[in-house]
């Protein structure tokens, strides 16, 4: 019972169970963080002076240690996953709010002017024009927020069995089983890489309108030119 995947029974979970808890505790906060960042971003874009104080608040929140959050939250949400996920959600804002705001601000002036001149109302303009064009910037922010969230879940071990793969680290020290620590680190890293790959793929699917950079761009335009010459596309 000393193998790489033999999880001590006091964690009350299988290896796969740890992974599933870990993913839940890492990804739900990023998703909620994104849902919060979208309206906050809209506000910051519309009312310019709000952005610096909002940025300041997100940075201060990020600087508060999670244990301080736990001390306050335990009274309300107990030793639960929610207690872990609330600080992680707030931490994600430090990346996601600037990603949304900078993404929306990068929309070319002519595009905004054209949208306004066509009579697209401002909420609609945000949802249908500005956010879609901001997708590359938002996805870049999501990648950073997700990777950071996946590594931060481990702090949940401070309040019992809520650290998921992070609990393997404390258990490894407790039972002098260094392999479990290696397992924790490797599994966390593999998860982070896999989720990142999914996000990269998702960005490609969401932005067929973006020129691929460098060599790929040249290849793509040449296929388009080639396709244009075939008889099918002429008819």
């Amino acid at each position: 019972m000393n193998g790489f995947f033999d999880i001590p029974s006091d964690l009350q979970s299988s290896y796969l169970g740890l992974i599933s808890t870990h993913m839940q505790e890492a990804l739900v906060p990023v998703l909620v963080g994104l849902l919060l960042a979208l309206p906050i971003g809209l506000l910051c874009v519309r009312v310019n002076w709000i952005y610096p104080p909002v940025l300041w608040i997100t940075t201060v929140l990020y600087a508060i240690p999670s244990i301080a959050f736990f001390v306050v939250l335990i009274d309300y949400t107990g030793l639960s996953k929610t207690t872990v996920m609330i600080p992680l959600t707030l931490y994600s804002l430090v990346v996601l709010v600037p990603a949304v705001v900078d993404g929306v601000r990068s929309v070319p002036e002519e595009t905004n002017a054209a949208a306004a001149a066509m009579g697209i109302g401002s909420l609609r303009r945000y949802l249908q024009v500005q956010l879609p064009i901001a997708v590359p910037a938002i996805m870049a922010g999501l990648r950073v927020a997700t990777a950071s969230s996946i590594s931060l879940v481990s702090v949940g071990s401070l309040i019992g069995n809520q650290g998921a793969l992070g609990n393997l680290l404390t258990t490894a020290m407790l039972y002098h089983r260094p392999l479990l620590a290696v397992n924790s680190v490797v599994t966390t890293a593999v998860l982070a890489v896999l989720v990142d790959a999914v996000l990269v793929l998702l960005r490609r699917v969401l932005t067929p309108w973006q020129p691929a950079s460098g060599r790929k761009a040249a290849r793509r335009t040449s296929t388009i030119a080639g396709a244009a010459r075939t008889p099918e596309s002429v008819s």
């Binding site: 002519e110 949208a115 009579g119 244009a228």
Partner: protein, 378 residues
């Protein structure tokens, strides 16, 4: 009709962008606002669709104050074309063009069918429908911009330096295309540019604005060129306004010289005896198409040895400016006049063109005298 009545735009810092401007912009015509940067031309345009609110004065469209209409409905009733097109980079060409119809609640199918129709109208290959803006050249993007503005068939089209960012050759193509489309659709077009040549090429009426947003002159292009209101307008028109004004004079009444045009197979020996001292003659083929110049004192009837005649001008279609240009470029000083089918009608020398210019000036002077007499009579 768009009536701009005593409109001013003052900013909080005291800058005056537009100063008590009044303009009547008629339907079915292109009105150009032209002037140096800071003359308030774009501000004026943007006040028409309320992207900028005037500080004072009123703007009426067909008699109705634009402030009375909901702002988005007002904007949807006016097409807007902007420099660099401002296309939605995340939407296909077809969906870009279908934007306003979709906003107006058309079904996706109907909006797309309309968009496809417009692609054809502005001269875009239907194969581009599914492409994204980054895959198009600047000129093609600008065509999409025009198609998008026309999509819901608005009676008014606002164009803010739409062709300024493309190269001169493409720009000329776009200008011709716009004139062609306008000929078919007859919109009320307000067109902003800083380029006087462009203003004169496409405008039915041109409003010249000076820095500080004051109207310097509002007139038809030929009137602008022949009678600039003041030194500012004259300077803004540039140094060759006399030559450019010839663009508005027809070649129809040119006194063409037919005595020096001969078909191949004429009796050259005899002709040489008659007109040896009178310089070169134009040799044409059996269909009266020009072949080249011949100096009968040395030419022996070999078509290959003719001197090239260069470009001809078409009587009635080309202007006196083109005729003069051809005469200046011609090795003999004579421009070749042809009809629509390319058959030679005669020759026009630089002096002939000059005489036609003088005649046109006299006619115009007589006309304007007539007008003032009528005015005085009222």
């Amino acid at each position: 009709m768009i009536a701009i009545e005593d409109v001013s735009k003052r900013y909080a810092d005291g800058t005056v962008a537009v100063d008590r401007l009044s303009l009547q912009i008629p339907n079915h015509s292109i009105t150009v606002l032209v002037g140096p940067s800071g003359c308030g031309k774009t501000t004026t345009l943007r006040m028409i669709n309320r992207m900028i609110e005037p500080s004072s004065g009123t703007i009426r469209v067909n008699g109705e104050d634009i402030l009375r209409k909901p702002v988005n409905a007002l904007r949807q009733s006016m097409g807007y074309v902007i420099q660099n097109a401002g296309l939605f980079q995340h939407r296909t060409i077809l969906d870009n063009i279908a934007t306003v119809p979709r906003l107006l609640g058309w079904s996706k199918q109907r909006a797309r069918a309309r968009a496809a129709e417009l692609m054809e109208r502005v001269g875009l290959d239907p194969a581009m429908a599914r492409r994204y803006p980054y895959q198009l050249s600047g000129g093609q993007q600008q065509r999409v911009g025009v198609a998008r503005a026309l999509a819901a068939d608005p009676p008014i089209l606002l164009m803010d330096e739409p062709f300024s960012a493309v190269d001169p050759v493409v720009r000329r193509g776009l200008q011709e295309e716009l004139l062609r489309i306008q000929g078919e659709l007859g919109k009320a077009i307000v067109f902003v540019t800083h380029d006087m040549d462009e203003a004169i090429t496409i405008g039915d009426r041109v409003a010249v604005l000076r820095t500080g947003g004051k109207l310097a002159q509002f007139a038809a292009p030929d009137e602008l060129l022949s009678a600039p209101a003041d030194a500012f307008v004259e300077e803004f028109l540039g140094g060759d306004r006399g030559i450019r004004g010839l663009s508005f004079l027809s070649t129809r009444d040119l006194a063409l010289d037919r005595s020096r045009v001969f078909p191949v197979g004429s009796d050259w020996q005899q002709l040489a005896g008659e007109s040896a001292g009178a310089g070169p003659v134009l040799v044409t083929d059996a269909d009266a198409k020009p072949l080249g110049w011949a100096d009968l004192t040395v030419w022996a009837g070999d078509v290959q040895a003719l001197e090239p005649h260069g470009q001809a001008f078409e009587v009635g279609k080309d202007s006196l400016r083109v005729a003069l240009d051809r005469a200046v470029l011609s090795p003999t000083g004579q421009a070749v006049a042809v009809d629509g089918a390319g058959r030679v009608l005669g020759l026009a020398g630089q002096e002939t063109v000059a005489a036609a210019i003088r005649a046109a000036r006299q006619r115009r002077a007589a006309d304007s005298e007539g007008v003032s007499t009528v005015k005085a009579a009222r």
